[in-house]
Symmetry: C2
Subunit: 290 residues, 2 copies
Amino acid sequence: MTTDNRVGAHGPTGAGDLARLSINQQTVRQLSIPQLARCCRALGIPGVGLWRSPVQACGVRRVAQVVRDAGLTVTSLCRGGFFTASDPGQWDAALADNRTAIDEAAALGTNTLVLVSGGLPTGSKDLVAARERVAEALGQLVPYATEHGVRLAIEPLHPMFASDRCVVSTLCQALDLAERFPAEHVGVVVDTYHLWWDEQVPGQLARAGRSGRIAAFQLADWITPLPEGSLLGRGQLGDGCVDLRGFRERVDAVGYSGPVEVEVFNPGLWHRPGMEVLEEVAERYREHVW
Amino acid sequence: MTTDNRVGAHGPTGAGDLARLSINQQTVRQLSIPQLARCCRALGIPGVGLWRSPVQACGVRRVAQVVRDAGLTVTSLCRGGFFTASDPGQWDAALADNRTAIDEAAALGTNTLVLVSGGLPTGSKDLVAARERVAEALGQLVPYATEHGVRLAIEPLHPMFASDRCVVSTLCQALDLAERFPAEHVGVVVDTYHLWWDEQVPGQLARAGRSGRIAAFQLADWITPLPEGSLLGRGQLGDGCVDLRGFRERVDAVGYSGPVEVEVFNPGLWHRPGMEVLEEVAERYREHVW
């Protein structure tokens, strides 16, 4: 494991090597959106990935104005999804909520809405049926998303989340779903944290690249032990065992040239000054990704 | 989630429907091996799966005598493996330890030694190289195992263990390794806990069945949230979301007719009287598996 504390060792931040970097706001949850915008601007980081709940708390229009004024690009909005309810009322509510998410993405000026599919419905043991439910939901939402200029981006989550969070566990499954729709309307999210272990990823990336399906590329490192509940155990870039540079080169090699979004859920980062964490992310990005 | 406490509701235990049941001793860690043997005999459970450390503590010959006297079959010995060290001294030590494990399996009268491959070597990010190291170790050990009448059984572990415990994450990868050797010498372990999420399992089971590669079949249910470290969060049969009966029927359908070993690592079971836990396992097995 690398533990590199040489923040700023390479001198002042230049924009060139950070030109594709985006910070997902969950990485620095301690910062408000205006604070995040100021810090990114100061460091030459051109993109941010936002989450619905803090965006709603701040106000969608205000957030749109703040990021525009800072010259930032919103690279993605997280997240829609949670489509697997078997109860008709919950199903309708999920679709309505996803339409709102599409509205929000459009208002923020991002064309990428990340979708986390949802887990098994209560009492169900049928993953195949749950995935089919995701396809049905996509069918319902694609026309609305298309009208609003938003592309739906299916994110496969690590198999440890298959029962309670996301029945789509591999890039192959995400592509199987996406390919039922035109590439310009439905893509996939490639996240190193969720996919690093899967030997089929190189072949599936080639498949995704050929058809222009990569809607977003997110980075976090894999570290152990996992914390209780598994959610908040992601590693800062370089602290774990993922070959981040190799992964990024592979994603680029299949034709992706979009934002590279750092999304690390780790309370250890949230307890430090946000600006310090962002400087470290930029440094680690240069050292381990670029 | 099912919570069935009707232990004994079906009356006294008959041997017929338990004829293939085996209890892995980690399920009732609170019982000594002699206690486990007595309880299994009393309940009509014909098989036990043992672990090296408690076997060594009790004495291999004594354990062999105890299980023989109780009329039990040792269905597997857990575990050899941990083959991925890059340090030559550690590598040699791992091979020597695996030869001892083969001796122990032979002394216990089981022909199945379960292998957990090991995680990434310290500082490595190369899963492919680590898996190749596993193949090398198998090549070294197969002649010795064959001489002693022991079959090596490669166990794929859930991808959440890929970095620190087992670089073999899928049934497909386990078969890719096993098929480098004759089927009578190297097989695979099919464990519902590790494999339930993988949509490729049905096809891979067919592949394993065709070539006679299924050396062991183990059961545990998948429950969330996972505890810190992820190791001890397995569910009692029926408490989780795995279609255990469907899985068992599929394994049988490809030609497997061997032991069905229940291996649940869960401190909640260890804090209860062992006999009560075993009665519950038998009851859940009838209800959810058989």
